[in-house]
């Protein structure tokens, strides 16, 4: 909690990526989360295209501290026959609360039809999907603006808000044009004024704090929000209120 407000981190990973120091040790994560008042971190495992392997690891991770972590389902169109059945399992049996997609691990831009069964499922269930976005050709945020109007009952979260300036502008435009598009904040491109730009141009009700933990420590990432020149009310929305509304937690 920060000043009485529940804080949710919308972007976290399960799995080790040792070459980059990404270690999914719950004790490490909880230590960092507790130091800055993060109540719940949303986590997913993007390293297994079958979905099942990573989702099971995520479920085991969440089960160790179910009050502190929430699972997101991961599937990939690299194994299209498994996508919907795995989503049904992850949401209904593993009790995951949203979906994570990672277009750079596939050949397909996120507005290609290979992804449609996932969007249709999210639309039917009223779920949120968070995408990795950035300058990779599969991951342009403008593609989220293409798909969002077709699935009005789903919510789409643009991870990293595009990461770099050109793509950030696409992300903001997508959020401005679509009420079901949100902007997530994690990035090591901690350019001055980015949080202010997202809030001022898309609205504080459309920006969501995330850290990319444990690839990045959540403390400097939440520090971006705390030290930004935005109102305290905007900080409350970004740090938790918007995520709670999307996830129903």
């Amino acid at each position: 909690m920060i000043d009485g407000n529940k804080v949710i981190d919308f972007h976290g990973h399960v799995g080790r990526w040792d070459q980059y120091g990404m270690i999914d040790d719950p004790a490490l994560l909880l230590h960092a989360m507790d130091a800055v008042g993060i109540d719940v971190a949303c986590v997913f495992d993007i390293f297994h295209p079958d979905g099942t392997t990573g989702n099971d690891l995520t479920a085991q991770f969440v089960a160790r501290h179910p009050e502190r972590f929430a699972g997101f389902a991961y599937v990939s169109p690299l194994m299209p026959e498994r996508m919907v059945t795995e989503l049904i399992r992850a949401i209904d049996e593993l009790k995951f609360v949203a979906i994570k997609l990672y277009p750079p691990y596939t050949p397909w831009p996120l507005n290609e039809p290979q992804w449609n069964p996932i969007y249709e499922f999210a639309n039917e269930r009223g779920l949120a999907i968070i995408f990795h976005t950035g300058p990779e050709p599969q991951s342009f945020p403008k593609f989220v603006g293409d798909i969002a109007p077709r699935y009005p009952h789903a919510n789409f979260v643009i991870g990293h808000s595009g990461n770099t300036p050109v793509e950030r502008a696409q992300a903001i435009a997508a959020a401005q044009a679509n009420p079901n598009v949100y902007l997530e904040t994690c990035s090591t491109f901690r350019t001055p004024g980015v949080i202010e730009q997202l809030v001022n141009e898309a609205g504080a009700d459309r920006v969501i704090y995330g850290s990319d933990m444990p690839l990045m420590d959540p403390r400097p990432q939440i520090g971006k929000i705390i030290t930004a020149e935005i109102t305290d009310d905007a900080k409350r929305q970004v740090l938790g209120l918007n995520a709670r509304r999307l996830l129903g937690i």
């Binding site: 990404m22 490490l28 008042g37 090591t188 001055p192 444990p214």
Partner: protein
């Protein structure tokens, strides 16, 4: 206890601020008054500054542009950029004779065909070492083998490695172990728990706070450092004391 607003509780001396425009990126901070206002907003007392034009255009001309930022109040300490050419060394030697050199900065020259190898840099590094002038070296674009091999030939030279990112994760520990006079600046080093882990392994005296503003926002890493389990004495060292010691040498 985390709050929606943050101010540091120890004196802060930022080791790494870039002023002025890059040739391909105007700075959001337009002048000395704006920089001081930004420092005041984040509770930063003093800063080491270098000019953006020195990075990839001209250390000599960029150093001249730096003069306009300095003022009389001692809050901004100049860091002169240098390269292994006669003209550049003559400029720095003149400034040194005037008592105006407390540190220098070496930008990447590999992209221009000059590797960081002893045959190219020994003369410059030997002079810096003899004059007890510490040198800042950016890790992005640096070749780690060249860095370690060449710096090992100058064991008394104090070096601050800046801009480490998670992509440098595997390099950091071997470098700090191989080069006892190397310090790590923390502007972009975010793997989870790494500040505390490096403190445990190498001591807080090897870590230096820098923001690399205006490349990155000034506040997030300072916020992070204040939410680690560093002791107050260690925090004071990282936020200012280590840098003061390095510059006073």
């Amino acid at each position: 206890m985390t709050s929606l607003n943050f101010k540091p509780r120890v004196p802060v001396f930022d080791a790494n601020i870039r002023v002025g425009d890059m040739h391909d990126a105007p700075s959001p901070c337009r002048d000395r008054a704006a920089l001081l206002a930004e420092m005041d907003r984040h509770g930063v007392d003093r800063a080491v500054i270098y000019h953006a034009q020195t990075e990839s255009i001209s250390p000599l001309e960029g150093n001249l542009f730096l003069e306009a930022w300095l003022g009389e109040d001692q809050r901004l300490t100049p860091q002169w950029s240098i390269m292994p050419t006669a003209a550049s060394m003559a400029q720095i030697q003149t400034l040194h004779a005037q008592g105006r050199v407390s540190s220098v900065r070496l930008h990447d020259t590999r992209t221009a065909g000059l590797p960081f190898r002893p045959w190219a840099y020994d003369k410059l590094l030997a002079w810096l070492s003899a004059q007890h002038i510490p040198v800042w070296i950016p890790l992005p674009n640096a070749d780690p083998d060249e860095l370690v091999t060449t710096l090992q030939g100058h064991p008394d030279l104090v070096t601050v490695l800046i801009g480490a990112h998670y992509v440098h994760h595997l390099q950091i520990r071997p470098m700090l172990a191989a080069l006892p006079n190397v310090y790590l600046e923390l502007s972009r080093y975010e793997p989870v728990g790494e500040i505390e882990a490096l403190r445990d392994e190498f001591g807080a005296q090897r870590l230096v706070y820098g923001s690399w503003y205006a490349r990155y926002a000034m506040g997030p890493m300072l916020f992070y450092l204040h939410h680690t389990d560093l002791t107050e004495a260690e925090l004071a060292l990282v936020c200012a004391g280590n840098l003061e010691r390095i510059l006073d040498a």
